[in-house]
Amino acid sequence: MNMMKNKLNDLELKKIEEEKKNYEDNKSISIEALKIVQSSRGWVSDELITEISKILNISESQLEEIATFYSQIYRKPVGYNIIKYCDSVVCYMMGSDNIKCKLENILKIKIGQTTNDNKFTLLPISCLGNCDKAPVIMINNKTYSNIKISYIPILLEKY
């Protein structure tokens, strides 16, 4: 089981292989490869960095350099659901701080942390391009707009 966890599975290998035809070299698909691996596992472990670097034939440090630069690649375990609340200027004016506090209170965590039951991780995100419907949060792949504090408990119930 542990062996599997540290190895890329067939689907991941196939997806990475497919990306290769769209780019001139392997380095260009390193971000995509990290995202492919992260999409099923939530985050990218050290072992997987090694695995991906082997497949792409680039050095581990090159890959690590990318993994640590891009904010949406996680190098630490995260919860099953990722809540990103927009902390940019329009949402800020429309009350994103209160939303952050409410989320922190309900989940009993601070920004960047994961709940005890591993269900949620809370992260800030830059403008989600929905400022005319501010404030905005995103849970996994879904964007929620015009958020009111009172919606939040109901919203979290869904996950």
Partner: protein, 444 residues
């Protein structure tokens, strides 16, 4: 203004929108509404040079914020037909307060694709990438579907519609980092590197993606191309009310009655946008300041509301047109806190390449925080003003740091008294203040 009837001639970017259900315009609907006829017309009647000249004539300016003339940018691509060469669509919309490309990407994917195919033909590219930010999930799904639809109809791929033009579009999604929207950082990111901007020259047109000639254009810019090909440059010049040609997606957000984004001719006044389109400030709220086009533009005030919304007019009153998506700041918002929020963003998103930006922005955040906490000293305003110069134009590799200074310098200029009010007036020593602050925190 929903009652406005949109015609192809007056609203070239948005007349096809399904305003009721907001469904994406898929290929059948797009065909019914004249879709891909610009591409067909061009393939039958024009050479790449013709297209470049047409776009030059139209005086279309880039819609990503900098406003460079698109036709001129295209003509910088080397004449000699060295391939491969690339077209990159910048769909990494992340400027705080900006939400225009999202609409075009989600609801009018074919209009963008058609614009890209025509543009690719003009610069003789064989391949294009759409660099889409990772959080735009519906845009990603819709573009994927639209690319397949276009391929099935023969608009993409080998020998497009029987011509000898071959063109492929690949959708690439990002993994965060605002700086990817800077065109050379975008190229580095596509190459799988850290998104540090490159020093120019050489310009991407000469040395771009994988060292090959490359042209980077914004989503809205490219979406303008089909209508220009169909209706000509004279029409395009005439639909605007000012020297900047064509229409523009503009918007207003904040505590206004009807926040949104609308296609309007360049040169309408900010007041019209705020009062007629956004329906004015919400009851009980007064306009204190506004930013005309994104987080990196100088604040203006109510006095400037009659300014024309276009590149020249906005810079004449001391700001920048930017993305044209404006934000209203109401009287309840404390300007120091607001600027602190903006600078935290710029500080977090600095790529770290140049010292003034990497070190200066966190310093500015610290100083502004001390203003907010009531610790600031008299000379701190001067330090901030000095930093505005140190991080200003010409001091860094890209426009990130100077952009970050625009809201700060204008806020100090316009609302100096609000900064002064935060300066420590009592005789507590700093240590006492820190203790006081901690006690306050514990009480919370």
């Amino acid at each position: 203004m929903n009652h406005i009837i949109k015609y192809p001639e007056t609203h070239p970017l948005t007349w096809r929108l399904d305003t009721i259900n907001k469904n994406p315009i898929w290929i059948n609907e797009y065909h019914k509404k004249n879709g891909y006829s610009a591409l067909k017309f061009m393939l039958n009647n024009m050479t790449p040079k013709d297209v470049i000249n047409l776009v030059k004539d139209s005086e279309l300016r880039g819609r990503g914020g900098a406003g460079f003339y698109t036709g001129i940018k295209w003509s910088l691509m080397p004449k000699k037909n060295n391939i491969p060469r690339y077209l990159l669509c910048n769909a990494d919309e992340m400027e705080p307060g900006t939400y225009k490309d999202r609409l075009l990407l989600e609801q009018l994917p074919h209009q963008l694709l058609e614009g890209m195919i025509i543009s690719g033909f003009a610069i003789e590219a064989t391949m294009a990438y759409i660099f889409l930010r990772g959080e735009y999930i519906s845009a990603e799904n819709n573009l994927k579907k639209a690319i397949i639809e276009a391929e099935n109809c023969g608009y993409l791929g080998r020998n497009i519609l029987g011509s000898d033009f071959t063109f492929k579009i690949v959708l690439h999604t990002g993994a965060g980092r605002y700086i990817c929207g800077e065109e050379t950082a975008l190229i580095n990111s596509l190459e799988g590197k850290r998104a540090n901007p490159r020093i120019k020259p050489p310009f991407p047109a000469i040395v771009g993606l994988w060292g090959k000639p490359t042209c980077v254009n914004n989503v809205e810019t490219l979406s303008n191309i089909p209508a220009i090909v169909l209706n000509g440059s004279n029409w395009y010049k005439k639909i605007s009310l000012s020297k900047d040609r064509g229409t523009k997606l503009m918007g207003f957000s904040g505590r206004v009655n009807n926040p949104g984004v609308w296609e309007v001719p360049f040169g309408i006044s900010a007041r019209e946008l705020l009062e007629d389109y956004a329906k004015g400030m919400k009851k009980g709220f007064r306009l204190k300041a506004w930013q005309p086009g994104g987080a990196g533009t100088d604040f203006l005030t109510e006095k400037n509301l009659d300014v024309k919304m276009d590149f020249d007019s906005i810079s004449k009153v001391g700001s920048r047109f930017g993305t044209g998506i404006a934000m209203a700041v109401d009287h309840t918002v404390n300007i120091v806190s607001l600027v602190l929020n903006l600078e935290k963003f710029f500080s977090r998103e600095s790529c770290g390449l140049c010292t003034p930006c990497r070190e200066g922005l966190p310093w500015i955040v610290k100083i502004l925080q001390s203003f907010e906490d009531g610790f600031a000293q008299n000379e701190d305003i001067n330090i901030l003003e000095d930093l505005c110069v140190q991080l200003g134009p010409g001091k860094t590799v890209c426009a990130h740091a100077p952009g970050a200074m625009e809201p700060l310098q204008s806020a100090i200029k316009l609302f100096r008294s609000e900064f002064e009010q935060c300066i420590r007036k009592n005789s507590f020593s700093n240590i006492e203040m820190i203790n006081k602050k901690n006690m306050f925190k514990l009480n919370l």
